[in-house]
Symmetry: C3
Subunit: 311 residues, 3 copies
């Protein structure tokens, strides 16, 4: 790949030698003459990289410089070509695929993956080792399920009957739309009666729990170890931090950003904006309140002082 | 299944046509003429369901109505018959079962499950795909272990010796009693010297961590991503929310309810009642304290005003 | 094993009959005449144990007593000999090992484990059932990966491009140094461009998430369900509780101790000492602040009283 191709791909301005040949991507600090790298700083960073993608106005120098508005994005786009994912486009012989399952074209199914009855997996999917997709679930095109992901086990619903719990029926399904990625060992439960849905282009990190009947919109990002309780709705383009907990029947409106470790109470409606803490509140309020708590010692001293003056 | 059979099963009062034929369960909003549905509202809900289970006094109408005191429970009981779990009652050929393991009658063992030496699995168990039960653990009757569950790995115990950690022996076992259900990718460690025990009828959600020597009573409910540290005891009939963390050697007394994301300190005794927050406190106290923190700005303003008046 | 051998191994003082024969380790409460047990109390505990390891100055009696400075450590050291881990030192026939992977001497690879291309696994490793080690990762000697561990899946990095997320390249690797232990179903992501590293002798519990480019030092202890975000550094000899969340690019300095459920903000530097809460603060400050919040009702009453007196 040559520098001028990267400039074209990234819709950037080439400065320097467009014929610089690039073989791989690397961090700017460890790059060599064959490396493509990037910098988000406007200042020069010492580097051996043959080609560096930078922000317009940067003073960076290299054999080839590509100026763009978003260097990290441009670098990612170049890497889609430079480092395409290694895929076998084959079903590993140890995978267990039910006869009634339908697997799309060019799908890669890893060792020991288990695909249940009536499952549909779309084209160009990557289903990693030890993934389990239970009966009746639907997976779109270009979906990546990393190792150990479990899709479609029973949701967690029980009704108390004197001295035992009776299982509430968990007979729904899971629909994963196109271009979704789910991280290692995450779990997505089937709907109790209806469906659990993960919208197009949504990205989910490792060890995330998605309960029955949850509906997640398009292009939602959910970081590791977050848990979403039953029937909660996350609308399009939300960003959810790690270790967030959401109660059931909550609704996160389109464009909301929820900080890590936050807690959303059952039934809560989270409006667009940045949210933090347990129970979640707008970030500004959270910060104000946090500062106030930190100032409590002073407040207490002031009250003491007032009492003394009054006596 | 006919409406009058459902009324009999659910110990309810039939109103309307007892011969209405039902083939499946459905949400009241998506039901059709062959559906059994339920409503917890006393008001009428528009539905096409052939038979609806309702609370006594409800104004709901349908071809057949079954009046009960707990519609969700009655619906669950009817679904035990209407939608029995699909089971092969077979050991999948890819499962790896140690010669010395004993598997009960009618057990279903899924693909790639691994059952270690001297393990005992009871009758009518459902051991899903990729479950691992390590050497020497005991699983009762009618136990469900969902995909990816790991039972009986080493607990996490080490003793510091100058420049290394020495493993504290993890040579105990795990006992899972009858009618327990454990969610996908949850982990239950073996006892260090004694046993880790999960009591009869207890239900555990996905991605839950149960450490060595924990003892969980009967009919306990534990939601997703909760972690219980070593030697902690949870007595019968407790309800534990999601993402709760419990320190070691704590004791949760029978009937306690602990809200999601709560934190129980090591050694803490949690009495019956509803608990919340980190460290856990009674819900009422938690709410009072939360309200007080939210009122801090006003309190500070009052102190300012007092200072001004005193000057 | 005889009592005098234990005394020698543990560098302790033998009191009583050095020829007492011990066959296994047991809790002091359930021990019998063939048991080795230990007590951290200075007072006598009723026991049937043939040999008890105690603190110097203890009034404990038994056929054989071994006095040491750290009984739990001495007991652990004796158990390394008394209860060596049961290992097959074999590759299970159902394990899937890439042709280009290198497996060290005396390694035990469990059923259905998956070892990718160009992976190197050192000597005397224990790779449990269903573990996945993705392409190109390196595992040192005497490493234990418990069931369901996933090493080397893609980190979670994306760049937003109008109406889609473009994957930031995840083409780095994971290096696990010697004597590391990782608990069941934990996940360790590969570096985006560089490496993710787990230092020598570090012990990680179940369901822990280690993100791309994280660097963990030597002899670090991390309890269950903790999550470490991208590029964060944990230096040697830190102790991290359970359910802790760390933002990206944080640094935990050598010797720091972080309490369970704590939250470390992105970029935060955590100095040596004991830390607690979200966001983390020194334990003393946390306690002071907690007490202050608990005293808010009184403070409010005092302000009320002052207002009354001023009127």
């Amino acid at each position: 790949m040559k520098a001028h191709e990267i400039a074209r791909l990234a819709d950037g301005i080439l400065v320097g030698d467009g014929d610089v040949e690039i073989t791989h991507a690397a961090d700017i600090g460890t790059a060599n003459a064959d490396s493509l790298s990037f910098s988000t700083s406007l200042e020069h960073v010492e580097t051996l990289a043959g080609c560096v993608i930078v922000k317009q106005g940067s003073t960076q120098t290299a054999k080839a410089i590509v100026e763009v508005s978003d260097p990290r994005l441009a670098f990612s786009i170049a890497c889609e070509i430079l480092h395409p994912p290694k895929r076998s486009h084959a079903i590993h012989p140890t995978a267990v695929i039910a006869d009634s399952a339908k697997i799309g074209d060019r799908a890669t199914i890893g060792p020991n993956a288990v695909i249940g009855e009536e499952v549909a997996v779309g084209d160009d999917c990557y289903i990693a080792a030890n993934v389990v997709i239970e009966n009746g679930c639907t997976v779109g095109d270009r979906v990546t399920l990393h190792a150990g992901v479990v899709v479609g086990t029973d949701g967690f619903g029980f009704a108390r009957d004197k001295d035992r719990y009776v299982k509430f029926p968990q007979i729904g399904t899971v629909v994963i739309e196109n271009d979704v990625e789910v991280g290692a060992n995450s779990t997505i439960d089937r709907g109790a009666l209806g469906e659990t849905r993960i919208g197009e282009g949504t990205k989910i990190d490792n060890l995330v729990q998605i309960a029955h009947n949850v509906s997640i919109g398009k292009r939602v990002v959910i970081a590791a170890q977050t848990g979403i309780s039953g029937s909660t709705v996350i609308e399009d383009d939300c960003v959810i931090g790690g270790q967030v907990g959401m109660g059931d029947h909550a609704r996160v409106q389109s464009g909301a950003v929820i900080g890590s470790q936050a807690g959303v109470l059952p039934g809560k409606i989270v409006r667009p904006g940045v949210w933090w803490g347990t129970p979640v509140q707008p970030l500004d309020e959270y910060k104000r309140q946090n500062a106030m708590v930190k100032g409590l010692a002073r407040l207490r001293d002031e009250v003491k002082e007032l009492k003394k003056r009054l006596s």
